[in-house]
Amino acid sequence: MKKHLLSIDDVTADDIAEIFATAAEMHDVQRRDVKKLPALRGRTVINLFFEDSTRTRSSFEIAGKWLSADTINITGKGSSTSKGESLRDTVLTIGSMGVDALVMRHSASGAALQVSQWVDASVINAGDGTHEHPSQALLDAYTLQRRLGSLEGRHVVMVGDLTHSRVFRSNVLCLTKLGARVTVVAPPTLMPSGVTEWSRAAGFETSYDVDAVLPTADAVMMLRVQKERMSGGFFPSPREYTVGYGLTRDRLALLGPDVPICHPGPMNRGLEIAADAADAAQSVILDQVSAGVAVRMAILYHLLAGEGSAA
């Protein structure tokens, strides 16, 4: 594997298979009474979060701790003007403390890539603006693979605010890499610019019609619609969004009973996903969370400890 995990483009299908194999071992560890492994003893992992996060930060923190790494959280607002300390100065300061891995979230797309060019540590992108969130995509694919077996040829439907979603961008790369057929659905105002050319080149499909694609779905991923997008700029009202694109109770009936339903969280129940769908037997939303810790343990392990079995 490469030194950094900045994008799904940094891992091959073989790398992903290795990560998933390790994650499965870690998943077993999660069920033990004593969860700590010595694999990363003496290594230091800094969670550097310039943007608020609860689940991703705690997931990485638990992952690091269960591997016996020294895990430190640093939070702060990223500079949004050119007047404050430069990003380079900030990360050089932290990097100089002797860090093995920097798990980084930033509100700006590309920030993790830039930082990887400045510091010696391995950089794990825990979300950069509206660009990528590779560990989320890996845990989503891991969760689906456990449900569906191989993703080869399976039809995954992703619905939501694609323009502003790093989860979408990483997932479309990851799922197509694993052989899945991907259809993404959004109103035109929430489709990324140039998505027609992009989807053609990258081999995924786009649609404005969620009802047309759900019947052939082998899995569904609902994406969060951010509050700040609801004020009428991108679509007229939350009610209209739900009618057009929400996973409502009626749409749940379009899905086969074994079609897993994913959501990266936090959910807007009643907006993009009805409670009936979120809590359905086929929902894997909480499995995603527990898989998140296992997959992040596997990522840290492969980037920092090298080859071999960890558990």
Binding site: G78, V195, W198
Partner: protein, 432 residues
């Protein structure tokens, strides 16, 4: 040689790349062209070099006052001279803004003191570049700086009523409004990547071409309505070219400039999130680049202007969306234009003289600049080696800043000498 000969002979230059001849310069004025007697004169051997009139840049940011750590009038003048320029217009978005006669005179005087190129301050259109109230346009014009070009560059004069009044008002003294065409609601302050497939994939806020085109279209209609003159700064899209072509066909008084970087660099350079390539308007796709070249060659776009925008290193070492907009351009402009337009066969050296000297001087109303290499013209001359092998090294720049998108690129033409009213400011490619 002495830096200030009273009698100078430029020997054996290819004049505008057409005929070989000598230029005799006496007391800063060309007095003879052809085969001249060099008795008693300093002689500059220009064998194999192309002589053009000194270049005129309608669009630079010299950062003084306010950001003297990024550039000063002196260091910007040096970069201009090295690039073959004898006159530059210095944009108003300094701190404080050039929106009063006093501020304009200060920049003017700093330019005179530097003495390397004529520095003409551009006046702000609106007070503090706020886009609301007209700045003291007339007083800036009446000042020692004789301001003729007004621009809120960096910001668009977005309010159509304010733009209309500015266009009307400057008619009284032959002024021109140079517009930074960016509809602020279609391309806001975070918009930093050409809106298209790449911005969608990279998750960078898009800056769509249409945000420029709607302002250009609006402004040419305002220029027609008011009978005024408008200048389009840094045209960057094929759509803007279409609007300009139509407007000119209607006899509307519109002129436009294009930057060297928009003639060569493309949006795909942003794939690595390197803020060196962050500029406003953003780098565009190849189809826009080709349309801009064609428009420059056929006269739809009138001039090349650098938008030289130095920045301190730390202002570029932020996340891409937070980093400063802009790139250096003065030292490399002629080399880029030669590669893109002359070496490709799209333009002659005479055309280069037109778009980089004569026409920009006319747009800015600079009577002593942009004149032909003719008897009676002020001896503002640049000598270009058209068969050079120049690899740009950002650390060799005379600018204070290093945000150089041309670093590591190789060009086949290079400025060898620059003369400002007969006085060499650059010889053998280096400052005198």
């Amino acid at each position: 040689m002495s830096a200030t000969p009273t009698k100078l002979v430029v020997r054996g230059a290819s004049l505008l790349g057409e005929t070989t001849g000598d230029l005799l310069v006496v007391d800063g004025v060309i007095t003879e062209v052809g085969s001249v007697d060099s008795t008693g004169a300093e002689v500059v051997d220009a064998d194999g070099l192309v002589a053009l009139p000194g270049l005129v840049d309608l669009h630079t940011h010299l950062r003084e006052p306010g950001r003297e750590d990024a550039e000063t009038v002196v260091t910007g003048s040096r970069a201009a001279a090295v690039g073959g320029f004898t006159a530059v217009l210095a944009m108003a978005n300094t701190s404080p803004v050039t929106d009063t006669a006093e501020a304009a005179e200060r920049v003017h005087d700093l330019g005179v003191a530097a003495g390397l190129v004529d520095v003409h301050p551009v006046g702000a259109v609106t007070k503090g570049l706020a886009g609301e109230e007209l700045a003291e346009l007339g007083l800036m014009h009446r000042s020692r700086a004789r301001v003729r070009v007004f621009s809120d560059d960096g910001k668009c004069v977005a309010d159509p009523r304010v733009m209309r009044r500015a266009l009307e008002y400057v008619k009284a003294f032959g002024g021109v409004i140079s517009q930074h065409s960016q509809d602020p609601s279609l391309a806001g302050p975070t918009s930093c990547c050409h809106e298209g497939e790449l911005s969608g994939r990279l998750g960078l806020p898009g800056w769509p071409g249409v945000a420029e085109e709607v302002i250009v279209a609006r402004d040419v209609m305002l220029a027609r309505h008011t009978g005024s003159r408008v200048h389009v700064a840094h045209a960057s899209t094929a759509g803007t070219v279409e609007v300009l072509r139509w407007a000119k066909s209607q006899g509307i008084q519109v002129t436009a400039e294009v930057t060297p970087h928009h003639l060569l660099l493309t949006t795909d350079l942003l794939a690595g999130y390197d803020p060196t390539f962050k500029v406003n308007p953003p780098l565009r796709p190849q189809e826009d680049v080709l349309a801009l070249r064609e428009a420059l060659a056929d006269g739809t776009i009138d001039a090349v202007a650098t938008d030289h925008a130095p920045h301190a290193r730390h202002d570029k070492e932020h996340a891409f969306v937070d980093a400063a907009f802009g790139m250096l351009g003065l030292e490399t402009a002629l080399s880029v234009v030669a590669q893109v337009m002359v070496e490709s066969g799209q333009m002659s050296w005479t055309d280069v003289a037109r778009v980089m000297s004569t026409t920009p001087a006319a747009i800015a109303g600079l009577e002593r600049q942009g004149r032909g290499l003719e008897v009676g013209s002020p001896a503002n001359i640049v000598l270009v080696d058209p068969s050079a092998d120049l690899t740009v090294d950002r650390d060799a720049s005379v600018s204070l800043s290093r945000n150089n998108p041309w670093h590591g690129r190789t060009f086949g033409a290079a400025v060898r000498a620059t003369f400002l009213r007969g006085r060499a400011t650059v010889l053998d490619g280096a400052l005198v």
